[in-house]
Structures are given as C-alpha cells and as structure tokens.
Amino acid sequence: MSDSRLPALLRAQYETLFRVSQVLSRSLDFHKTLREVLRTLEITGHLSGGMVSVVDPAAGDLSVHAVHGLDSEEFEPVRYQPGEGVIGMILEGGRTVAIPRLGDEPRFLNRLGLYDKELPFIAAPIQVGGALQGVLTVQPDAADDGLLEERVRFVEMVANLIGQNVRLSLEVEQERKALSEERDTLRRTVRQKHGFDNMVGHSDAMRRIFEQIRMVAKWPTTVLIRGETGTGKELIANAIHYNSPRTRGPYVRLNCASLPENLLESELFGHEKGAFTGAVNSRKGRFETADGGTLFLDEIGEISPAFQAKLLRVLQEGELERVGGSRTIKVDVRLIAATHRDLEAAVEAGEFREDLYYRLNVMPILPSPLRERMEDLPEIARFLLERLGGIQGRTLSLTAAAQRRLAQHSWPGNVRELENCLERASVMSMDGEIDVDLIRIDQPRTGPARKVSAAVSPAPTLAANAGDAEASETEAGGEQSERQRVIAALEQAGWVQARAARLLGMTPRQIAYRIQTLNIEVRQI
C-alpha cells in the first residue's frame, strides 16, 4: 500500500522543490522570500506550521524569524537557548530531529502554540559552510504513514536551499546597516568641520557675512562669492551648503581653472559614449552628480565665453545635455560660484558674458580682506593655532611681541597667508610658544615689507640702505623696517651675528649695537 503512495509523494515533493527554488531565486528580500517558501511548503508540500529560526550570532541563541501565517508583529519574540526544547536540541546537536507523534515527545515546549500534538514533527538544521545558521521546522498535515523518512529528507533539502539565502541576506543586511551608519557619522563630521564654527571673527564685516550666509542658505538662489585669494571663499561656500536644507544632498566642488576648456565641459556636463576620442563610456557630469545638492564652482571668472553660454542655460532652465548627447537632463542644483577677478572689467573687455554676469551677481557675498578687519586677527590667529596644536598634539601660543608683529603686516595673502606663516612658525617652535623671531613673512608685496625682501638678498644695495638707516628711522615705520631687516639677516645667517653683519654690509660691532637698540632677542642655536 505504501508502495503506491511513495511515487505520489515524490512527485509532489519534486514539484514543491521546483517552486521553492523559484521563490528563492526571485528576490533578496529575506523576510518576504522566507514567508513565500513557507507558504509554498504548505500549499504544495502539505507541510504546515512552517517556521524558521535564525541563530543570533551576538547572543548565541535562536530567534524566530518567520512563521507561516503570522506576521512578524503577531507572534511574540520567542528565543531558544541551546538545548532548550526540541528546537534548542538542534542548536546543540546540529542534527535533524523527526518525531512521529509530537505528543510522545516530552521535550517539546510548544511555545508558539502552533503545533498539533497528534501529528509528526520535523526540524532540520539550516547550515551554511558547515556552520549552523538556523532551524527549519514543519509539521506534515497527516498522521505518520510510514513515509516520515522521505519527508525528513525533503525538509533537509529545503533547509539546505534556504541556507545560502539566509547567509546572503544576513550579510547584505549587516553591510547595509554598517554603511548607513558610517555614512551618517561621516556626514556629521563633515558638517561639523564645515559649519560656522570654522569661521572666526566678530568684526562688522564678518557679522554681515554670517547674516548673509544664514539667509542665503534658506533659498536655492545662485550665490557669487567675490574676494581676494585666501579670504575663505571656499569656507563660505561650505557653510552655505552645510547650513542649508540641502545638507543631506551631495556637495560637489570644482575649480574651473584647474581643467582645460574641453575637459571642463565634459567634467561639468558629462558625456555620452563616443562623444569624442577616448569617450569609451558615458559619464555623469558634476551637475548631474550634484542633483538635489550644491555645486561650488571656484574661479568662475576663468571660463571661456562658449562655456559661459552653456552655464547660463543651466542656470536659466535648470537643464543640460551631455557632451555628444541629445537627451535633455533636468537638474535641481544650487550653484555657488566664486572668483577673485574683477568681473565688471572682464565684461567690459568682452571676456565675460554680460547676461551671465547679471545672472550670477544676484546674491554677491564679499568677504573682506584681512587687512580691513584687523580686529579679528588675534581671534583668527588663536583659532588657527588651536587647530595646528590639535594636529601637532601640543598647545601653541603667541607671545605679545609676535602678536604685534602679525598686526603690522598687511596680509596680501589674507587668512591663508596667515595660516601658512603660523604653521611654519609653529613647526620651528621648540616649546609651543611662538615668539616674534619665528614669525617670518615671505614675499611681501606692499609697503614697508618690501624693504625687508630687498634687505636679505643682494648685499651691495644694502650697504647704501644701511648708510642712511639713521635717516629712515625717523620716518613712520622706519624703525620697523630696520628691525625687520636685521632680524631677517640674522635668520638667514642662522643667528651668527658676524655673518649677518656681512649680509647687511655692517661691521659686527654695528650689528651688535643694533640688536641692542632695536631690542632684538637673540636666539641661540
């Protein structure tokens, strides 16, 4: 009698297996797939009460993951310790458990109240690479007819199939969680690094800038930042982006002067495959990458008229075409442009399109040069030293004399020049205190500083200068230049007074006298 039933069972199992494999290959959504598998088992396989529990690697026990016919909210979270109940037995032994009649098994706990005590029960381990990952439990929907053996084999087969799926989905889930956490952490650090905290100053000029950034951040208006090099144009752009609602969107930066014309175009607008020699793939441009975020174009004054026309179109219509492409792409990008050039003069000279100029100049932000907000200098210096100190792992400070020395320079290179100067000085400082002798200002371009540069190089001209030193000392700032000259020469000579004297065309006695009268602290090296 059982002979006639066996082929029927095998056929049914074959059919079920086929469907299960179909379901498993369909999607990576673990929970959905599992529920589907359990459903298939019930409908075509006559195995009801399907349940999958998965090993929790952290706790080392089993937690129920999917139960056929119940949503995850409907069953209480049930966990099995190793050796606890029939399912826990598998966790310990790793072997399939088959019970002809559940009521005969004293170890059965029936925690979910799901199983019929009169029917057989099969629990098979789900293994991946020899390690137990979970347990699949089912209950055949008829009393044992002597074919339990066959059914067990079948359940084991299904468990094996599920195994790969379980592993994959666990991995995918873990990875996704790790990635999104890392992304959030990174985003936060970046935001903190580029927020207002990095902009220092309490001068009126600076406060006006803060106010402008706060306002402008709220709207997607195009912003033009105009200022000398080193005034922190990029900092302002950063602050706008990270204080705007677009902060979670992409922030793309590009220096227009860094690329030649044709490259710039494909870089910004992207290109289609075969648009030009070497364009083997189609590529997204920066505009497309910045969709939903902010695009910062530095040195906007350096782009060619042809390119300006294209840019104007994006600004006006919010759409663009890739190089060599005909498809129009819509983008939602806030543009922040920056330049140190006199755009009005460029328009006048026909180098810059007038319409683009008007379009860009709607919201100009004009960071003032450092020399116009010298009252902020101590605070900026302190901030920069704090940051440098953080990098070097020690506290850095300026002496009052060094402070004064900084205040006397006109800083044509603005904050960036100040930063470089302080960095150099801090590296040379032994104990973290930066004294005036460490403050070296390079390539002075204006005012009294020019004399210094002349002072160090050719000795012959110096002789003449030194000759009328007494006269120049009466001028305003004369004493300073004399002092600087001597210090610079001493620096160059490695603080050997005799050598410095030669550089200045003086006698050792003369230089010693000057060191004394000009109150120069001599460094012993």
Binding site: D184, R188, R191, G195, M215, P245, R246, N361
Partner: protein
C-alpha cells in the same frame, strides 16, 4: 525560642511594609525587585503589569546625570542615595501622567546571615520609597504648561515676524543687487554723468534705504541663556502643549523616548519652538478632511555624537520633488493646492535655522513614502 523571635519580628516588619501607604520596593544591584508591597503592586497594575521600579530608577538616574536639581546633595551623609526626587511616570494608553517623590537608601544585607548562603558575603540593596504627589504636581504642572503656552505663543509670533521680515528683505535684495550691477555697468560704459545711470542710481539708493529701514525693524532675537537640556523633557512639554489639539483631531500619540539621553547644550525655548513647529505640521498634515490614519510617533535616541529625534506622522506625506522646497520660507503646500500638509509659512525654515544654530539639521526621510518622517539631528558637543 531564640530563633522564633526574629522570625516573628520579620513577619511583622513584612506586614508593616506591605500595608504602608506608599510604594516601597527593595531592589538588588540589577534593579530587580526583591521585596515589594501592596501599593507597588497597584502601581504595577496601573502600568499594564510593567515593573515600575526600573522606570523610576532610570528617570532618577537620568535626572542625576543631567545634574539638575541637585538640591539634596548635601544630605548624602544621612544614608540616602537620593532624596525626594520628583519623577514623572507616563501611563500607557494616554492616561494622565503621575508624579512620585522618590527616595532611596542603601540597605546592606547582614554579613552573618549572608555568609551562610552566599560565598561572596553581604549584598547591597536599594530601598526605593515612592510617594505619590500627583495631586500636588498636577496643579503646578497645569500652571507651568499655561505659562509655557503663553511664552511659546509670544515667541512663536515674534519669530514668525522676524523670519517673514528677514525673508522679505532678502527677497527684495536680489532684484536690487541685480539693478546695482546694471547701474554699475552703465556707469562704467557711459561715465558717471550718464543721466540714465544717475537716475537709476538714485532709485537704487532709495530702495536700499527702504530695505535698511525694513531691516532695522526686524525684532531682535530673543536672548535666552543656553544651558544643559534634557531633550525628552522638552518634547514632553511640547506634547503636553499640543494635547488639546491632538485630542480634538483624534490623533493617537506614541511617545518612545530613549530613557536616558545625554544632556544637550542649547537654547530651551528655541528648541521647544523647533519641536512645536514640527509637531504642529504633523498634526495639520493629519487633520485633513476624511483622513483616516492619525498616528503621531515621536522618538528619541542617541546616535554617535548626538541625539536623533524622529517625528513621524501618518498623513499624506510630502512628494520627493517638494522635500527640499518645503524648507524655503513662505513655502506652503496649501498655497500650491497640495493636500493638507500645510506649513506655517516659515515653520520648517525656522526649524531648520534653529537646528543649524545648534549645529544640527532637519531632514525629511526620503525613504518614507506613506506619511512623513522628519529627523532632527542635534550634536552633543563635549566642551572641555
């Protein structure tokens, strides 16, 4: 006989504890209840059978962490771990909250007795005594919420005015700037004496002046001292403030705070305003006619380096293409004929501003399709 007497004494003490008209529980090191009394059991029943002791203890620890109200610190010597700490318990199912005045003292198990049973000697227990003061506090709380309501309404009005005015001046600034560049170019080309340029420059100057006057009228930011803030408390304040509106709209609230949050350095009124704007938006979104699902979820949790607050409504949601636009001042989905998700003009813009002032951000979760999930991230700065 010698053994019987302490046993009888023990029974008497247990009976007395059991009948005491206040919640008494003896906790071991893991906050597990070793001994409790009738009042404790009653409270447990009111809480839907959840253990009240761990809840009370977490609140007390949170308060001690914040360092607020450390009035009784000087009395530590008297054997109390804490004394008269006021704790609020939120009951499930939207019932009115209850207040307890809690005191705790260390109790050490007798060494001799313990030696017989435990190898590691005596154990420390905490005797938690909680006296219900709901009646008293409810009055105070009512007054406080009313006062808060007045302050918030004031603040709301002023900040809305400030935000609208500055947004308006900003909007005017754009065209003026454009004109300024045109005037500049004209003057460059035709010389300073050009009649057109001069006329325009005059108009410009007038416009600029009007703008300056307008700007001068913008009310100053209300200065408030920054301090250590328990974000959960602020959110609860705001929820209390909006209870009436939510009841009227039939909105169910599920409030899921993380029990202990790190203290945040910030401006309490501003942050309250931020949360209120978001919750008001959520209420409004769900109050549309015929909208069935009305469920507000407010969650807090610690995230690396900060606190995350999630405010989630089951309203119609905001379509992806408008998720950036809604942050613009003056933007309102109502005006665009959108369904119901009406923002108070400058609500989200102000919220974003307040978050930015605290170094944080407000985001609309793009992955949420049904309803709207707003995430507020506020960094916790560790100041040396």
């Amino acid at each position: 006989m010698a053994e019987k007497q302490p046993k009888a004494g023990k029974a008497l003490i247990e009976a007395a504890v059991d009948a005491a008209p206040m919640v008494i529980a003896l906790l071991d090191a893991d906050d597990c209840v070793v001994l409790d009394n009738q009042e404790y059991k009653k409270l447990q029943a009111d809480l839907g059978m959840a253990e009240p002791a761990p809840m009370l203890m977490t609140s007390i620890r949170a308060e001690m962490e914040t360092g607020a109200a450390n009035v009784n610190g000087g009395r530590r010597g008297s054997g109390h771990v804490f004394l008269d700490r006021e704790v609020r318990l939120d009951l499930p199912g939207g019932k009115a909250p209850r207040w307890f005045s809690c005191s705790g003292s260390r109790v050490r198990e007798d060494d001799e007795a313990a030696d017989a049973f435990f190898a590691d000697g005596g154990r420390d227990y905490l005797l938690l005594v909680a006296k219900e003061i709901t009646g008293l506090r409810a009055q105070q709380e009512k007054a406080r919420v009313a006062a808060l309501q007045a302050v918030m309404a004031d603040e709301d009005r002023v900040s809305a005015l400030r935000e609208s005015l500055s947004a308006a001046t900003f909007r005017l600034e754009g065209p003026l700037n454009l004109m300024a560049s045109v005037v500049g170019m004209l003057a460059r080309r035709n010389g300073e004496r050009d009649a057109m340029a001069a006329a325009l420059a005059n108009a410009m100057a007038a416009g600029q002046q009007a703008l300056d006057e307008l700007r001068a009228m913008i009310p100053d930011e209300t200065r408030e001292p920054s301090g250590a803030i328990n974000v959960n408390e602020l959110l609860r304040d705001v929820l209390d403030l909006t209870t009436v509106r939510m009841l009227a709209a039939g909105i169910g609230v599920s409030w899921k705070p993380q029990a202990v949050l790190p203290a945040l350095q910030g401006y309490p009124n501003k942050l309250r305003g931020l949360f209120k704007a978001l919750i008001d938006n959520a209420i409004e979104a769900m109050s549309g006619r015929g909208w069935r699902e009305r469920e507000l979820i407010v969650m807090t949790r610690t995230q690396a380096g900060g606190i995350e607050i999630v405010i989630e409504d089951s309203g119609p949601g905001i379509p992806p293409e408008r998720q950036l636009k809604v942050f613009e001042p003056f933007y309102s989905t109502k005006r665009e004929g959108g369904r119901g998700h009406g923002h108070l003009g400058t609500g989200l813009a102000t919220a974003q501003q307040i978050a930015a002032d605290h170094g944080g951000s407000v985001e609309i979760d793009p992955e949420k399709t049904a309803g709207c999930r707003v995430r507020v991230m506020l960094p916790v700065k560790r100041r040396p």
